[in-house]
Amino acid sequence: MIKQLLMCLTLFALVNTALAEELLTFRSELNQVRYQSLIKELRCPKCQNQNLADSNSGISVDLRQQVHNMIEAGKTDQEIIDYMVTRYGTFVLYRPQNTPATFLLWYGPFILLLGGVVLFVVVLMKSRRRRRK
């Protein structure tokens, strides 16, 4: 009985993964790797907290197809990202661009860290001077 149940479960798991995979063929293994990494980096415009790989909304399916087509057509990763940004804005990028608008996002933590170090040193010097007195 238990054996049969296990069998059933494994079969079910197999069917599930088979259904989840879209039937896509790539000209090379590199293309497939590029596809996988791009759909992980691009955000689904409809569902906000999912990437294209995770989402099954209509637009994500379309955009995955578009990424696949563009890779197979010989477009570079940058060209594909530019294509997405002109249509959906920088919103689709999970990795924010390094522009003046995102300066604080990228360097804010380092600025805060630097401030902390300066404060630390100042406090240290002050207490040392007090002790000498």
């Binding site: 415009p45 409809k46 906000q48 909304s57 209509g58 637009i59 379309d62 955009l63 578009q66 940004v85 002109t86 249509r87 959906y88 804005g89 919103f91």
Partner: protein, 168 residues
């Protein structure tokens, strides 16, 4: 000097409070279109009725709306009566039949009335991608200069129209 330092946490609290207060009640789902201020991207689409090929030049000269819809989309059922009202008020609406079937779309317009000045078929959703559409219904406002001025995701109704019509 020491005393001012003691007030620092309070100052930080005040600044953060003000910032957060102004973010309250904002729609977190709202996403401005990347195409605001730009012209409608070039296209070649076939009309739903008569199957004629239309291009960017065939778009109206004045201001108008571009409405993405489909018979498969439940919210489009909700939206349709209001589009009829707008059309009666003389608003030009271009319909994009998004990822839909021609026969079903024709039947829909026969049953519910046709508010559109022109209906183009985007069967594969390629024009939808070029417009940065995330689903249906979605409505773009194109102003008299031919530039995209506003994008509404979701149902166009009397409430959202109050906000949109200023962009027309």
């Amino acid at each position: 000097m020491k005393r001012i330092l003691l007030f620092m946490p309070f100052l930080v609290f005040l600044v953060l409070g003000v910032v957060f207060y102004f973010l309250l009640g904002k729609d977190t789902q709202y996403m401005p279109s990347a195409l605001i201020g730009q012209s409608v991207p070039p296209f070649q689409l076939v009309t739903l009725k008569g199957e004629k090929l239309k291009q960017t030049d065939d778009l109206p000269k004045g201001s108008y709306l571009i409405n993405f819809w489909g018979t498969w989309c439940p919210s489009c059922h909700v939206e349709h009566p209001y589009l009829m009202t707008l059309a009666e008020q003389g608003v030009t609406i271009i319909g994009i039949d998004y990822k839909d079937q021609q026969t079903a779309a024709k039947q829909w317009l026969r049953d519910k009335g046709d508010p559109y000045a022109l209906v183009l078929m985007d069967e594969l959703g390629q024009f939808g991608l070029d417009m940065g559409v995330t689903g249906a219904p979605e409505t773009f406002v194109v102003n008299a200069e031919g530039k995209i001025a506003y994008r509404l995701q979701g149902v166009l109704n009397a409430q959202s129209w109050q906000m949109i019509k200023a962009y027309l």
